[in-house]
Symmetry: C2
Subunit: 243 residues, 2 copies
Amino acid sequence: MTASHSPFARKLGAFVALSDRELIALDGLHTRRKVFPSGRDMIHEGQTNHSAYIVASGWASSYKILSDGSRQIVDFQIPGDFLGLRSVLCRTADHNIEPVTTLEASEVLASDLLDTFTDMPRVATAVLWAASRDEAMVVEHLVGVGRRDAKVRIVHFLLELKSRLKLVGMATSAGYDCPLSQNLVADALGLSTVHVNRVLRELREDGLLTFRHGHVEIHDLDGLIAMSNFDRTYLDEEGPMLI
Amino acid sequence: MTASHSPFARKLGAFVALSDRELIALDGLHTRRKVFPSGRDMIHEGQTNHSAYIVASGWASSYKILSDGSRQIVDFQIPGDFLGLRSVLCRTADHNIEPVTTLEASEVLASDLLDTFTDMPRVATAVLWAASRDEAMVVEHLVGVGRRDAKVRIVHFLLELKSRLKLVGMATSAGYDCPLSQNLVADALGLSTVHVNRVLRELREDGLLTFRHGHVEIHDLDGLIAMSNFDRTYLDEEGPMLI
DNA sequence: CGACGCCACTGATCTGCCTCAGTGCATGAT
DNA sequence: ATCATGCACTGAGGCAGATCAGTGGCGTCG
């Protein structure tokens, strides 16, 4: 696999050993590219009959709004991630999706996907694997919000992002670019913006990491992993591990 | 569909209109029945190469344990629910499953499931639908833990259980039997046992609901729905709505 | 150019929920 | 009959994190 493949092919290729033919087929799903501006919902709750997308560039957030106006962000999507896969199956979206930055994404028709599956069953495995991983991430997110304190929660979140970005070549162990405002982080982690700010300052003062001006710099990876009990195997690193 | 079918067939039949032949095929998955005692893990994190199950009777909990010993329960499983479906795909379980009561469950081999799928595609749709619904429930759970206060969180949780149990004929609008201790509820909702106790007392005093001695009695359904902003359509009620 | 808005940041104050340390009541074991 | 165990329940006190009320920097738009 070379860097010339799309983030999507690159990500799946990291988990299931895929042939060049299969990788090229994955890239082939990236026709029908669309651009969405940041700040306006591209899918909103209750909407029916829309498509799934694969993110080509940019970040998005999926979230729910509660009656009192507060927002819970369920997950962020980065290049290579699916958008709205579940809502295709359920027919009606149960959450909103809003780009965080300008977003490029490719529309994926269920029929195209199924054709690829019957043609190349290993691709089906890989896609199912990715969907399961997404679900596992939501579960981990739930555990964090339910049982971890603010500091550990933020560290865990930033390490998870690092792992995910690394998969598509957008992060190194030293750091990564991150377009999320403190407010977005707060809404994802069930904290207030003010508190996120304070904790980030503490992490900076402790020499653990710096998150500023849209960039995360990791100063002490071992320290971070130790304090957050981040599972290295959970989303991590090295080459094809399945099949 | 008649009450003679298994909870599993009954649940799926409520969402996808299935023929008698299809319902009977679903019941046919219930060979290989096993009994698990409460209190001992049936699946634990990191375990590989185990099966999926369908719950026939009894309740189970899936949870994670954190390094500090605290527990986050991700979901409870009731009759008709899948157990460990995702961990079959991922090959290694990412969480533990422990029966809450004595549990009867049927082992389901991936091959049997796939055979049923190729034979009856509508069944595949129904099963995928159920899996998506489970994921949507985890998302809703995340939203609750992140953004709802203790009272609303508990009410929402108990209403969701009511809807799920109703689907398999184990609840009415008046109430249902619930074998969960206050401690289990607390670990699911990210609260302390003590606080769950207090909130349940308040709900009782407000004449909204009584949860005591393993039984939930609903006194004021409209009041509960209003205060928790429970989405009636989200998991609810009336007959086949898909296909 | 100044005005407006967004974002990062800070201090003061408030509060929801936790922790600790207990009591009372079951049920089952001896 | 008594003891042990588990769950429900209560009050006192503490703390993590929320809310409120600001300041200052920076980009953008009339």
